[in-house]
Amino acid sequence: MNARRRNNRVIVSFLTAACSVGFLSLMPVSAAAQSSRAAASAAEAASKPTPRTPDGHPDLSGFYNLVDIYHGDPKEEKPGQHVVNRAENGSVFFDYGGANGGGGEEGNTRIRQTQNGKVNMLDRTCISCEEPPYKPEYMAKVKAIGDAMYGDASPLDPQYDCKPYGVPRGSLRGAGGYAMQIVQNAQVIAFLYEDRPGPYFRIVYLDGRGHPEDFDPSYVGHSIGHWEGDTLVVDVVGLNDDTWLGSGTVGPKYAMMHSDKLHVVERWTRTGNVITYEATVDDPVMFTKPWVMTPRQTQLAAPDDYIRPTMCIPYDKTHLVKKDNTPYNEMAAQSADNSEANASVPAANMVGSWNVTIHSTIEGILTEQWTVTQDGAKITGTVKTKNGDATLEGSLSGAIFLGAVTDGDKKYVVRGTAVDNDFDGTIRMGKNEFLLSAKRSK
């Protein structure tokens, strides 16, 4: 396999992107402002010259995405950072750094990190975002759905059917690893999106036409735009009622259903490499007054980034649970058999003496000896190293071992797989993770 070539490509990609500057933010502007690093980076991006078309208007064309390359010491772990270690032998270690895991940059009001280092998604709300002014009868419905949700995920949300996010929820993309390409000429602006239901587009007409009278409602509606100074103002009607306004990916939690009488006025402003999106949303059926959305921003992507035109399959919907961890589908709960899943794979046998080799990129090859005893899935043992003795503790789930070597006040997490007389895995030593292999002696 072309592991070396891949590595080169990855490194080249890293260097290329590292030359670009850009912290990309779809978070509300007020939240962004709280992160000095984000603000500094966004300010730098915004200070670039704003490109213009031959007729003098700002040119929004470009590829926008929320991904950036980490510039610092790649061995240093930072919250909110995906880290990939690719071993020369082909093994891959991927650490997701986003909201699911180590995310939680200070100043990001949408993510709270709990004391155990895990993100409590129940706290994931857009505190500073304006909520839609629903009429009481609709607000009651929205609250009922929202208060039952685990975090902000509900199977009632059309996104879990892989339906388009629509307008205004999906207008400014760049979230969830998804991206947006804008292509502009004097007559039209095309917004090209990569995510659900697959790659899809939206057209804004700039040629002075009005809305058609016989337009059939759709997920992106009918959009006409004009320039007010350097801001593109887009009027959108013809939206169906099969999208939500927010929750989930973007926007406040209590922003859900709307009618097909929705009328959205968007304001798109490009300043340097930053786009600011503002919208006023009126729904005469469900709102008491127009909803003025909290502005959002996104930014040009790294120069080598591009649309990944993948389709969407709604695997999540049937598995989402409520806030109290119970399934939405009671039938599923009754037919499920967790005990069978738990008992499906007996723990491997790790009893015995193991000769262990650690491939440290810092200290070179390290060897130690483990003497392992086992009680069911529970593993204990002693570890002999050149520096003295330590202890091993952990547990097996089938062949998968998760545990740690404890040496005084130092703890080294060990993960691996025990098959017959071979153990293969990794050991985390400080900020580094090294391959670890072991053989059971006869």
Partner: protein, 133 residues
């Protein structure tokens, strides 16, 4: 002798992504139990390289009955993987693997969130971790 020639990690790089909920469109804890895992051994038959989440499929044969069951695990979005340098070709279809996944909260016993794929032919592993662990 199925022994691997291990080598040191040579490529280490990091990608910074703004720590936003937008990274994944929802928390995996809305579907999966971070404290409960399962693992099975079988043939890696398919990876769905799709939004909003990838899915890895393994066929597991019961040696006693001969019955084949399909087990599946959700992963992160394809764009997240590919922008970080993890690619579809890292899923070697047709090989014997042991996969480890977080259990589904709704009780579906053959569904989970992908933690690890281990290839039996050469011992290579694909390890997927959420931060904070």
């Amino acid at each position: 002798m199925r022994r691997r020639a291990h080598a040191v990690l040579i490529a280490v790089f990091g990608i910074l992504v703004a720590a936003l909920p937008a990274l994944a469109h929802h928390s995996f804890t809305a579907e999966f139990n971070p404290d409960q895992e399962w693992s099975v051994t079988g043939v890696l038959t398919k990876v769905d390289w799709v939004n909003p989440h990838t899915a890895t499929w393994v066929e597991v044969k019961d040696e006693k009955t001969g019955q084949v069951e399909t087990w599946g695990c959700q992963g992160n979005p394809p764009g997240t993987y590919s922008r970080a340098g993890v690619h579809r070709e890292d899923w070697r279809i047709g090989e014997v693997v042991t996969i480890t996944c977080l259990a589904a909260k709704d009780g579906s016993k053959r569904w989970g969130f992908l933690k690890q794929i281990k290839y039996h032919s050469d011992g290579h592993v694909l390890v997927f971790r959420q931060g904070g662990e």
